[in-house]
Amino acid sequence: MSELLRIEDLHVSFKTDDGAVRAVDGVSLTLNAGETVAIVGESGSGKTVTSLSVMGLHKKGSAQISGSISLNDGGTFKNVVSLNDDEIRDIRGRAVAMIFQDPMSSLHPYYKIGNQLAEAYLVHNPGKKKEAMARAIEMLDLVGIPEPAKRAVEFPHQFSGGMRQRVMIAMALMNSPQILIADEPTTALDVTVQAQILALLSKLKKEFNMGILLITHDLGVVAQVADRVNVMYAGRIVEEGAVDDLFYSPLAPYTLGLLKSVPRVTSKNERLKAIPGQPPSLINLPVGCPFAPRCEYKQHSPEAGCNTTKPALIGTSPTHRSRCHIPESLRHDLFAKELKELQS
């Protein structure tokens, strides 16, 4: 498998009047061709900020970015963090494309669908208007829009939400990018439409041999399409591993909390098991483990490390790592009972 994207020790912070917001705090991950890597976390955990960094879409003045984002552009690796504006723009939409959460507002209301798609092609292939339009109609057809030639001259408001997300996907594919970033692609859609869009993404991933970086807070979506998962909390990855590892033997208390908080049809008359408390402020992070104030396993930590030092991302298996002060073997035992309950 060829590597498409390697993020190493990415830090992103934003200056505000109250102090620097450390939205992403040392994130590392990789994405290979033909696989879907998910980033999971609640609002404000830094998953969208991470994905926008890959696109170079942060404003120069307001965001401070360090670390490296190596992106495979047709065989040569380019570090997005150090590229200038023109070089980043050359990559955007061509080597890496992105689809967004809300298809209702992501398309320009005043331009025809076909022209908006064609523009994505024309930006990187100037002057080729005919090819751009033909490609637009071809892509609309590919994402399952009936009568693509007729729909291409319509405006966004004439499409339903699901159809608009298909249009967004078609737009992303205009230049056959190797990397597709999908930022909550199904959050704004009906459940039935969600399944269709996810199936479409999986199909296209195979056809284009793309790597998909999937940003979501929905564990159901992760289970359906992801190969590997990164769980983020307070700007850091707290657990990474294959999708099965994560669902059947989670190692971070936060991941277990997320799994427990998914509502189940079988558990009637039971309260939802939400994780207590609030995520910490990203301006004043606690010195210890950022999850410690909400962690129900804190007392099992052998020393008082939870409140004084941040745990490292380690694991007995190199493909399944997590951040926690409690020894991994002890966590296995502690979590096993709860997991049994969940899976029954």
Partner: protein, 331 residues
């Protein structure tokens, strides 16, 4: 689209009819005897009564309204025999103060007010939108700050201050623009004289409006720049210049057109201060003089005219909006 225009035109005609009826009704309720107002210094009861009959004030109010309406389409003849005089269609009544048909007074005043309004509109759109673009593009930098100084000054200075200041300095002290004594000349007869005649009134009006348009354009552009579809354009790899001048500016155009159309309509009847300062015999000044002199037939006509302009401009704006915004396009 044609169906839409037809339907809107019918509604516009109905609205104008209702407005004219209401205005007519209000004027008939005023505690004046309209016939007495037509009479000069050496007034006798006989003259008043004769004028009452001649102008139709002896008839019931609904008949007077009908005569007024039919006069617009058929023209109107006042009195009978040798003392009869008539105003051809479209007749909006007869002014005793000026001894003239109101229609003639309107057609003399209208070109002046329209020239004033169009010139000012073009000027303030150029300056206002231009400054708004600069302010948004250089947000929080010196071009933005200086444009907000202009906005603050221009919105707080009333037109009678800016107008008088321009007149005193530019015309009287510095003598850059000479005082035009010849009066209004058409742009087709003497373009240079036309510009000389209107340039200061244009600037006076444009300063006030340009400030509003600067603020509006800046705010609308900055709001649009935060929209999701602008992020989509950037994600496609579109350059910043195209993002700004194509994607963003395009979205701001429709609300700007609406604002401009309505402001333009407002000026047709309402540029009273500017017309008075620069001694322009336009509609605003005509209205003002008629109010002072209780020249009711002229006040009635200008009020209805102003309403008609507002209604027609609304119709035009709606149609332009449908052209500019596909979401309100009518099938």
């Amino acid at each position: 689209m044609l169906k839409f225009i037809g339907r809107r035109a019918i509604f516009a005609a109905l609205t104008i009819l209702i407005v004219s009826a209401v205005v007519f009704g209000i004027f008939s309720l005023l505690p004046f005897d309209p016939a007495a107002l037509t009479c000069g210094q050496r007034c006798t009861d006989q003259i008043v009564e004769a004028n009452r009959v001649r102008l139709g004030f002896d008839k019931p109010i609904y008949e007077q309204y009908w005569l007024f309406l039919s006069g617009i389409f058929l023209g109107r003849t006042y009195g009978s025999g040798s003392s009869a005089f008539s105003c051809p269609a479209p007749s909006f009544g007869y002014s005793f103060n000026e001894n003239a048909c109101v229609t003639n007074m309107l057609t003399e005043a209208l070109p002046i007010t329209i020239s004033l309004a169009i010139g000012a509109l073009l000027l303030w759109l150029t300056v206002g939108i231009g400054l708004g673009i600069v302010a948004a593009k250089f947000k929080n930098r010196w071009p933005d700050t200086s444009s907000s100084v202009f906005v603050l000054l221009a919105t707080s200075l009333p037109t009678f201050v800016t107008g008088l200041a321009l007149l005193i300095w530019v015309t009287i002290k510095w003598k850059i623009v000479p005082l035009s004594l010849s009066g209004y000349v058409s742009i087709f007869d003497n373009p240079f004289g036309f510009f000389q005649y209107f340039i200061l009134p244009w600037i006076t009006l444009a300063i006030a409006y340009a400030a509003i348009y600067t603020r509006f354009t800046r705010a609308a552009l900055l709001e649009t720049l935060g929209e999701d579809y602008i992020r989509t354009a950037r994600a496609k790899g579109v350059g910043e210049r195209v993002v700004f001048f194509k994607h963003t500016l395009r979205a701001v155009l429709a609300p700007l057109i609406t604002l401009a159309g309505l402001d333009f309509a407002g000026l047709i009847g309402g540029a009273i201060i500017t017309e008075t300062i620069f001694n322009l015999p336009g509609l605003g000044r005509l209205t003002l003089r008629s109010v002072y002199e209780f020249d009711l037939s002229v006040v009635l006509a200008t009020t209805i005219l102003a309403a008609v302009v507002v209604i027609v401009m609304n119709l035009i704006v709606d149609m332009l909006y449908a052209v500019l915004d596909p979401r309100v396009r009518i099938t």
